[in-house]
Amino acid sequence: MGELLDLTVAEAAAKIAAGEISAGEYFEAWQGAAAGDELNAYLWSVEDASTYEVQDGPLRGIPVAVKDIFCTEGTPTTAGSRILEGYRPPYTATAVQRLDAAGARVLGKTNMDEFAMGSSNENSAYGPVLNPWDHGRVPGGSSGGSAAVVAGGLAPCAIGTDTGGSIRQPASLCGIVGLKPTYGAISRYGMIAFASSLDQCGPLTRDVTDAALMLSALHGRDPLDSTSVGIEGGIEAPSAEDLSGLRFAVPAELAGDGMEAGVREVFEATLKRIEELGGEVAELPLPHAEHGISAYYVIAPAEASSNLARYDGVRYGARAETAADLLEMYETTRAEGFGAEVKRRIMLGTYALSSGYYDAYYGQAQKVRTKIAEDFRAAFEGFDFVVTPTSPSVAFGLGEKTADPLAMYLNDFFTVPMSLAGIPAISIPAGLAEPAGGGPQLPVGFQIAAPAFAEQKLLEAAFALEQGIGFEARPGGEDG
């Protein structure tokens, strides 16, 4: 049993395809593991798998944990919000359908920050997820449940969504691989909208090979999402052995203060590793990247305030029962149904879009976004990749940053610029570091960003670096 759970997705899929293990046996083993969730990582998990019909495909028999932001027909889908408690969607998200068609099967729905707004999973209406490395710490967010189940041995792989870092940051804090593909690589149909111009689905996995395998099943143009285009040429298993001839840019503007000493140490050691593997590392200006947070916290809340207008107690979800008239019903339903962070962002976004402020906030932020995208394009003229730490710190303590929204937002400092530019970026575990306040060592993620739709190239480099680093530490285990 334990041996089954030790297999990577690629290994398990190969064994299932070769008939060495049965799909049913493998799924049941993971069901058993998921049932032992002590991290509050699952909001729902499949109980009866007997009706499971295995589709033939590259992911035949693979259980997948799905962030609770993806609609799944007939099973609860809450987006971590009280306002969608008990909601069972009448249709399934394209991303989940594509995994199904490739032979995979939903193992459970994972906990998350409400409507994907947060960097610690503490904004879930259903309680925070605990970091499998240290139950007193956050797993990151907003895809905190998806990261925790993979790191904690409760699922072999997961999908999440990334709007400003929500796949990469929790992957970093949990010591696993998280990939945010290019905007448009994967359909957003059936993915509950937060900020539509930024939201993108992606895999959270144990290693880069598994990320590639999942991306190959997930990507593609979908007639139900007119912004989806897929990845031309498809995705194959990465096999690069070194980084020779590749140039890695370190943005000077993103290497400043605010980074924990331990994170900086691991980051610098990883840059050396890149050079040992034949890659070239140089500093490069990315002058507008430091304004990413400001632009992001205008654009994302603005889009959210519009997207979340649909939760009004009329067509689905909770409704406040005591209201005397329609307006009061709307206002009370939303006051009772949304948590503090969601309200904050709705207010921020509504303000930024309101008459008299639109140009100063939203207009200006979209111009900053243009400049950030231009900075990246210029960088990619001389470099293959841009690299940063994924997060300025290792996993922080539960409750440590909840009192200061802005401090929480600054967690996204390294991940937001890529989101604004729409380019792909991956976080891979690069080492362990002691938290600033002391304590046992925790994982540190290394972020690699590539030009739009250069996912194959990105995965090749991440694979070569992953092999070079040889990160094998597991929560609660010996150092690798």
């Binding site: 969607p89 905007y183 111009s197 947070i293 009061e328 206002e331 979209q366 111009k367």
Partner: protein, 99 residues
Amino acid sequence: MPRVIDREQVLHVARLARLRLEDGDVERMTGELSGILEHVDRIAELDLEGVEPTSHVVVLENVLRADEPRPSLAPEQALASAPDPDRGAFRVPSPQADA
């Protein structure tokens, strides 16, 4: 230091957003939004005259499809999650309290 956004503005925005705020929430929200907006206001100082605002990050033009009828959700499916479905429609409280 004067706040970027005051109590009256917060109440106005809450009305626009159809969000009822309790008295205590208004005070806290005013402080928090002011703090965030102060940070965000740094981009107001950038000279971006003539820069085209981003409308979409991937170059896409005229994504069209054939205008063909296709199945959609049946009415009973669309109403299945409604808090108060009634004869094929969504029932809501009256817009006027005493109507």
